[in-house]
Symmetry: C2
DNA sequence: TAAATTAGCGTACGTTGGACGCAATGACAA
DNA sequence: TTGTCATTGCGTCCAACGTACGCTAATTTA
């Protein structure tokens, strides 16, 4: 039932008991150090050893404040997301747009978050806050509950994916185009459309507004569903 | 430059030389065994040791056919994707829809693929084939090269995400709704819209067609861009 | 038959995450 | 003040991981 992570993300108000030596470390310290390591060297570098070094403590000291690495990672993710923006108001499209772009900005600051949303299970308070904010923005639309959830999933997937893409594009060696280039040079004849699409884009050009494109396309799609809901006789 | 993975995914035609003992194992054997393990126990269980056991061989024997675990994983992914469907024709929407749904079906058969697309860099032949097929479906649209690439990214992200979601929903303990339920029971008052959305959906109902919803919304969005491209005076 | 090449694999090592228990600390009861 | 004992930090130990290295045996080629 409990994997322990839930308790850590949603801590019961502590009994405020004090006895024994004054703690030099706190959960926040550990999480902050973990985030610092991840920001600097990627999530793969987040080792109990490495985090402990960052704090000038011994590896096993961390286990007093964090049940294990899984829990540490979960706490780091929730902390990195931060608080969701306010999204109450009439214009659903504007608000959900802000929601998505704010999320993009937040994740861009901690690129490693994109690697974690894949594995994560239990949502923490921050993530729940984002959920709530997104649903609030869609509150006045005629969408069903399931459709609202699906819309949020759609948008957050797009945000995650475009952050990931931007990160990868940052170091030119790992870019998709760069990875494909040598392959296309040899096997290009087998992939004419691919060659065409990339050559049309120019090589360095297409400073991709993949985020903007994706969000606008999705919101267009949702908008057309909404307007159809409101008056089914409208355009197809 | 070469991380070695490229050479493995795009093998040069082998010199067909033969000397020394007859190989009991082949690259395909290793990759197949790896896929079998991943299918049965998840990608985390794919250990060199575990794969070797699967083949009745010693751990170090694998390294004769695969440069390392990274390479093995890359080969597994490309192999699991398989060949892309034919997508030539007039009706772009129908073809790209089939493309997305086929991809969904393919990945659903090997759910662990969703965990790998996050990390992967160099595309293999199969993935390139999917790329090419997707672009072929969009060939007759008035979209620019960059827009076509963005559209494919949008769709494949959605496919990946919904496969992941379906997998998670398969074992009820890990479902998002199930994970949220106990939290909402305690802190529900802080998340009224979330409670509303989930209660409206019913508890077991909403047998989510998240895939369908997402794809249709995206295609609606792309369609509206396309029709605007064709005649900018049309509907907004 | 001898030389050359190659597949399989045994050994060894560094790095992980984590169980366990000891020693120092310091709030409380006496 | 003095003992009690919960709590913190951490040293030790271990299993599991990926993989470098080199030996042995099989097989082709000369």
């Amino acid at each position: 039932m409990s994997d322990g992570v839930t308790d850590a993300l949603w801590p019961a108000p502590s009994p405020a008991r004090k006895r024994g030596p004054r703690p030099k470390l706190s959960v926040e310290d550990v999480v902050t150090a973990g985030i610092a390591v991840a920001d600097a060297e990627g999530v793969a570098a987040v080792t109990m050893q490495r985090v402990a070094d960052e704090l000038g403590a011994a590896k096993m000291a961390l286990y007093r404040h964090v049940r294990g690495k899984t829990e540490l990672i979960a706490l780091m993710l929730d902390s990195a997301l931060g608080e969701a923006p306010e999204t109450k108001g009439e214009n659903w499209r504007a608000h959900i747009g802000v929601w998505a772009r704010t999320m993009h900005e937040r994740m861009s600051r901690h690129p490693w978050t994109t690697e974690l949303v894949v594995t994560r299970t239990v949502p923490g308070p921050a993530e729940m806050g984002w959920f709530e904010a997104g649903l609030a923005a869609l509150a006045r639309t005629p969408l069903t509950g399931a459709e609202r959830l699906d819309t949020l999933a759609l948008l957050s997937n797009q945000v995650t994916a475009s952050v990931r893409q931007a990160v990868v594009a940052a170091n030119p060696e790992a870019s998709l185009a760069a990875a494909m280039a040598p392959i296309l040079e040899t096997y290009g004849s087998r992939f004419p459309h691919t060659v065409a699409a990339f050559s049309e884009t120019g090589e360095s050009g297409g400073q991709d507004d993949a985020l903007g494109f994706g969000i606008e396309r999705i919101l267009d799609g949702v908008a057309s569903l909404i307007s159809w809901r409101r008056s089914p006789t409208d355009s197809k």
